[in-house]
Symmetry: C2
Subunit: 305 residues, 2 copies
């Protein structure tokens, strides 16, 4: 099966209690592609970068089966840049700098060679941009997941609600789910979001794992209890990439397979946070992934007699 | 296998967003006995009550196989009374009244007929009282679990550390684990608590479930995602009762069985919160428990291909 990913490819500057990096590769599309390419190829990447984006990064992704025809390169422009500082608990962070740069002019064009993608991941971007991507697809994909954030609920709620009607699954964190659903109870908020369009909702709870709402059923996935989180940047995008990459490989969106996909996404995210940026994602092998998934089996599975 | 439970039998006055009760049966020993008696009998109850404690409550527990020889009745005394009000989020509460009454003179005496109990649950009480119970047991039980709270860490830390050396499992909530272990990371705090004595630690995280630390292994159990929690009072004691009741029935304290016991405890707690006090615990049948445990299988188990 083929997978289309729309998201940012960018530079980040990060500061965590464990250290600091001034300029490292980042972006939702980057993390998602690194994670998903472990499970499915080709990946049809849609993004925009400046002339400063390193050719070796693009080549490394191409070597993983990530097609770059849909990635616009603005030679005299600068790539999107984000800088943030994490608090001691690693659950909260301050944004220090957001330089949109070429992202301000992002008007995604879907190449003909990308048509027919069965699985689509719409990374966190303006709802209008997400909608433009879907409108260019000639055949309705089998499964579309949407990532978004509180910022778009604040400034583009109507646009977000339009896109919500067009997708199969929404992925948000717990506070975003409460904001969008309008209920303190995550169950009630998820039900309200489902009524807005997507039959599935994933609520990410950080160190407390994730909840999958699939029609009227619920799956609760744990997070791997880690002694230290080195850098949480990209964990959500990595989760999304692992999740949809696995689904695309299995080519089945039943509840049972989606549960497994949540675990695979969680396993990928648990690797992501071990080093700065996507560094760790570039190192891990299929055997590493199997081993981490088995850790989740020990962690979560049980049998009552 | 036989189970010895030490805990309070009391009256509670409760106020939640859903309603109010002025005087209802409560106490850690009461909740634990109702939960555990679904799995194992006899239960050897150790507690103290005043002459005001209803005979029909005692008879109802006796009919469930709960022995009352170790429950001291102070005819001219009043039973322990606690009153609290829950906040809207149900995770926090204010204590309005704590009348120790007969609990102030509690000096537990273990009857000869209670000797030889293989499983012991020490409900939340002063560490000195918990120690007195263990010192009276002629044969070291197979498995001892200890419940405690932040109050005893504040006022009786040395005593608590003494008892910790004598038990197999400590059960606390997340903030208590952080206070006792001295680390923000629950994993690090659990490791430090294990170094104080108990080879197992259960950390209850409310709506986020529970973590079991078993030697160097970890199990993460979800909480049942509920649209409404009617009254959280006694949920922790009910969890403990279901947990040790199941373990005592299986008579095996391996990691695999302890995982199942955490799920059974969680299932019992999920019933407890549906009505005020122990009301719901008195209604449910073996079929109800099986059904709820199956809900947890759907909720938490998965298979990755």
């Amino acid at each position: 099966m083929s997978l289309l990913i729309v998201g940012t490819m960018a530079f980040d500057a990060l500061e965590t209690p464990f250290g600091k990096v001034d300029r490292i590769i980042g972006g939702s599309g980057t993390y998602a592609a690194w994670a998903a390419s472990n499970f499915v190829q080709p990946i049809k990447q849609v993004s925009i970068v400046g002339g400063d984006f390193p050719q070796e990064e693009i080549s490394a992704l191409e070597a993983r089966g990530v097609a770059m025809e849909g990635v616009e390169v603005v030679k005299d422009g600068k790539s999107f840049f984000w800088s943030g500082r994490y608090h001691l608990d690693m659950n909260t962070r301050d944004t220090l700098v957001t330089d949109l740069n070429v992202l301000a002019q992002f008007d995604p064009k879907i190449p003909d060679s990308y048509q027919g993608a069965e699985f689509v991941m719409l990374g966190n971007l303006a709802p209008d941009i997400q909608k433009k991507v879907l409108q260019q697809l000639k055949k309705r994909p089998k499964f579309i997941i949407l990532d978004t954030m509180n910022f778009w609920m604040d400034v583009a709620l109507d646009g977000l609600k339009e896109v919500l009607k067009m997708v199969d699954l929404l992925m948000v964190n717990d506070s975003e789910a409460r904001q969008l659903g309008g209920e303190h109870s995550l169950v009630k908020s998820a039900r309200k979001i489902q009524a807005m369009g997507p039959k599935c909702v994933i609520i990410k709870k950080g160190e407390h794992g994730a909840l999958l709402f699939y029609e009227d059923r619920i799956f609760s996935a744990p997070a791997l209890p880690l002694e230290d989180v080195f850098d949480p940047t990209g964990a959500g995008d990595t989760f999304a990439g692992g999740f949809i990459g696995y689904l695309a490989r299995i080519n089945d969106v039943s509840f049972e397979h989606m549960k497994a996909a949540v675990i695979v996404g969680s396993a990928m995210a648990s690797y992501c946070v071990e080093k700065f940026g996507p560094t760790r994602l570039k190192e891990i092998t299929a055997a590493d992934i199997d081993s981490r998934v088995n850790d989740f089996v020990t962690l979560a599975n049980f049998e009552v007699r």
